[in-house]
């Protein structure tokens, strides 16, 4: 049973929840998503668009959209197009790639300032991945370098992960699950 099967069942949602999984290329998104995939999930389609690729897959109630935030800007508007539909974000960082930490920060800032994200209280889960690599940065150091303390208007959480072994992923998924049920309840309260 995949990690998210529980989440989906527990939520008992009719509507599907759309999770965006983003990060620089090589940060470990595909590896993580494969770990999270429920046993019955099928890779829906891998769209090999020119210049960047989007992976999508679906379970009974969750749909994931995964893409690399790489390339020199040209295809940016293609992936930004997906922001609107996202109800939760998983942002993956390669904690061993110190050189590109500034690039990850730049991409995160651009994401947070995008009109389709900026004013929404949408939960963000950070995976400081590759914690097994010898001189990888700690999750505390990563959150410092990304200035996560400046995110005031969105719930966020960071955890160190080793996607190859699957370590640390559960903690993050549990947190995301909490956030989603909370916001779901809030919505229902508002409706009633």
């Amino acid at each position: 049973m995949g990690l998210f099967d529980k989440l989906a069942g527990w939520l008992g949602l009719k509507k599907e929840v759309n999770v965006l999984c983003l990060g620089l290329d090589n940060s470990g998104k595909t590896t993580i998503i494969n770990r999270l995939k429920p046993s019955n999930a099928q890779a829906q389609d891998i769209v090999p668009t020119i210049g960047f690729s989007i992976e999508k897959f679906k379970t009974s109630s969750l749909s994931f959209t995964v893409f690399d935030m790489s390339g020199q800007g040209r295809y940016r508007n293609l992936w930004e197009h997906y922001y609107k539909e996202g109800q939760a974000i998983i942002f993956v960082i390669d904690s061993a790639d110190k050189l590109r930490m500034v690039v990850a920060k730049e991409e995160l800032d651009t994401l947070l300032n995008h009109p389709d994200i900026k004013h929404r209280r949408i939960p963000i889960l950070f995976f400081a991945n590759k914690m097994d690599v010898r001189d990888a940065l700690s999750s505390v150091k990563v959150s410092q370098l990304l200035c996560l303390e400046n995110i005031k208007d969105k719930p966020w959480h960071i955890c160190a992960t080793d996607a190859l072994k699957g370590e640390g992923l559960q903690e993050g998924v549990d947190w995301l699950q909490d956030q989603m049920t909370q916001s779901n309840q809030n919505n229902q309260n508002m409706r009633s």
Partner: protein, 506 residues
């Protein structure tokens, strides 16, 4: 503020002011050494003094390996020498008369330049010294006379002998006289040239420039000399494009202050660019050359040597490099300046100014790690500085060079041409000849009328002429205008004191 304008384009990825990296641009290169898609930085470190010359490899922000070099490196390039799997590039380090080839960062092969001809007289003299026929002092005299006369220069051994004090000479002769005299040149610059394909991972030849004014092309696998070309002066910087088997172009800046272009199948330079100052930087942008002069200037040339532009820089140039971003089709020139700035130029336009904590001595732009737009700089104090071009950065061309003021091209708000004016113009264009004739006719009539009046005045003794010499009178008539009405002005100049002007409207 200017600072913020360049901070808007570059991300500060790394700065280590005490990296202990002493190098210059020809000794830096980027390559995927392990074939894992992650580029490493290769540096031929000059060390300080005569110590600490090293081949260093950086991965990300950390030094991942270093090995000692035997001599000062003059250039470093990575290149594919064969098609063997896995496809990992080799590294060539030029120092002294040799090129050291490394594969998987282990010494693999050493190429030594062929020796040069030795002056036969010099050889004879040393032969005599060996046989004890002459003493060191007469050896000195004979070598000096050879040095002054001969076409073939003396060997390094004889030159060092000549610089000795008489007391040291005997020991030197004893030490060296048994070895044959050799003349060896050294490598001044090294580049790569694709063998037969232009693919990024195509096999490349090494191209080396030497102090003996030669350019050699070496076979990538056997390291035999494929081609030898001659220059009028010693090369200092080189730029190579094309493919050895098809067509290539070696552009060389030489110590005599000129730039020469060598082509395939020509042993001698095809074009020559003479510069007004010594070249200190040479890079190619597309089909054009950008040359930095030691008089704080930057010049643009076509590859055939036609001058395109010249601009002045605020400080002397320390180093130059191409900024090539193929994914965006962007090419420009990075110029390191002694005033702790790095300027980015596209043609003669300044696109970005990067301020650095120390003067930059070495620049390398390309893919580093997994980031395509990485700018790597080594500083004078031995620091390492890495900046990454923002993915959203856009450069706008602004013509920054002084020229005619903008207002010059602003149109003045002049009156519109009236219908009358246009009609008049048409009339003149159509019947110019007729008008001219009419005018001449009228002029003749006027003259005739004047002459008649004059004659009449004379006959009736009205003395139209000034009778006394002390009161000279001059009349000057000017007809202005094209008709139908004319302005006729008569200037009467009397006594050169009073001038009376009359205007007649005819």
């Amino acid at each position: 503020m200017e600072l913020s304008s360049d901070a808007g384009k570059w991300l500060d990825a790394h700065y280590d002011p005490v990296a202990g990296l002493y190098t210059f641009s020809p000794c830096m290169d980027l390559a995927d050494l392990n074939g894992d898609g992650e580029n490493r930085l290769l540096v031929g470190d000059l060390g300080s003094g005569s110590l600490g010359m090293k081949l260093k490899v950086y991965r990300g922000t950390a030094l991942s390996s270093e090995s000692a070099l035997l001599d000062l490196p003059t250039g470093l390039v990575s290149f594919f020498m064969d098609l063997h799997e896995p496809r990992v590039p080799a590294v060539a380090v030029a120092s002294g008369p040799c090129v050291y080839i490394y594969k998987n960062l282990r010494p693999y092969f050493k190429f030594t330049l062929p020796g040069l001809d030795v002056n036969s007289l010099e050889q004879d003299v040393w032969q005599q010294a060996r046989e004890g026929q002459i003493d060191p002092l007469s050896l000195k005299e004979m070598l000096e006379s050879i040095r002054n006369k001969a076409d073939v220069p003396l060997s390094v051994r004889s030159l060092s002998f000549l610089s000795l004090e008489p007391s040291e000479m005997d020991e030197f002769v004893q030490l060296h006289k048994q070895q044959p005299v050799k003349r060896q040149t050294v490598i001044t610059c090294i580049q790569t040239l694709k063998k037969s394909t232009s693919d990024d991972d195509g096999v490349s030849c090494l191209v080396i420039g030497t102090e003996s004014c030669h350019v050699y092309v070496l076979d990538p696998e056997a390291f035999i000399i494929l081609s030898k070309m001659v220059l009028p002066s010693a090369p200092t910087m080189m730029n190579v494009t094309g493919q050895y088997d098809v067509e290539f172009r070696v552009t060389v800046a030489c110590r005599n202050g000129s730039i020469y272009v060598l082509r395939r199948e020509s042993e001698k330079p095809k074009y020559c660019i003479e510069l007004s100052s010594h070249p200190v930087g040479l890079v190619r942008v597309g089909k054009n050359l950008v040359v930095g002069g030691n008089d704080e200037s930057l010049h643009g040339f076509t590859q055939k040597g036609k001058k395109l532009w010249k601009i002045s820089l605020p400080a002397p140039i320390t180093t130059m490099a191409t900024m090539d971003l193929p994914t965006r089709g962007f090419q420009a020139v990075l110029v390191g300046l002694a005033n702790c700035e790095v300027h980015l130029y596209r043609d003669k336009n300044l696109l970005s100014t990067i301020r650095t904590p120390d003067a930059v001595t070495s620049i390398c732009f390309g893919r580093y790690g997994r980031e395509d737009g990485t700018l790597i700089m080594a500083t004078k104090g031995g620091g390492l500085l890495v900046k990454i071009l923002k993915r959203t950065a856009a450069f706008e061309d602004k013509d920054s060079t002084p020229g005619p003021p903008l207002t010059q091209s602003v149109r003045l708000n002049t009156h519109k041409k009236t219908k009358l004016y246009v009609d008049q113009m048409m009339r003149e264009r159509e019947s110019g000849t007729v008008m001219h004739r009419a005018f001449q006719m009228d002029l003749s009539r006027l003259r005739l009328a004047t002459a008649k009046a004059y004659l009449k005045a004379l006959e009736s003794s009205l003395t139209p002429m000034s009778s006394s010499l002390s009161e000279p009178l001059k009349m000057n008539a000017v007809v202005q205008g094209l008709g139908p009405s004319f302005n006729c002005s008569f200037h009467h100049t009397g006594l050169s004191l009073v001038t009376k002007e009359e205007h007649w409207l005819l």
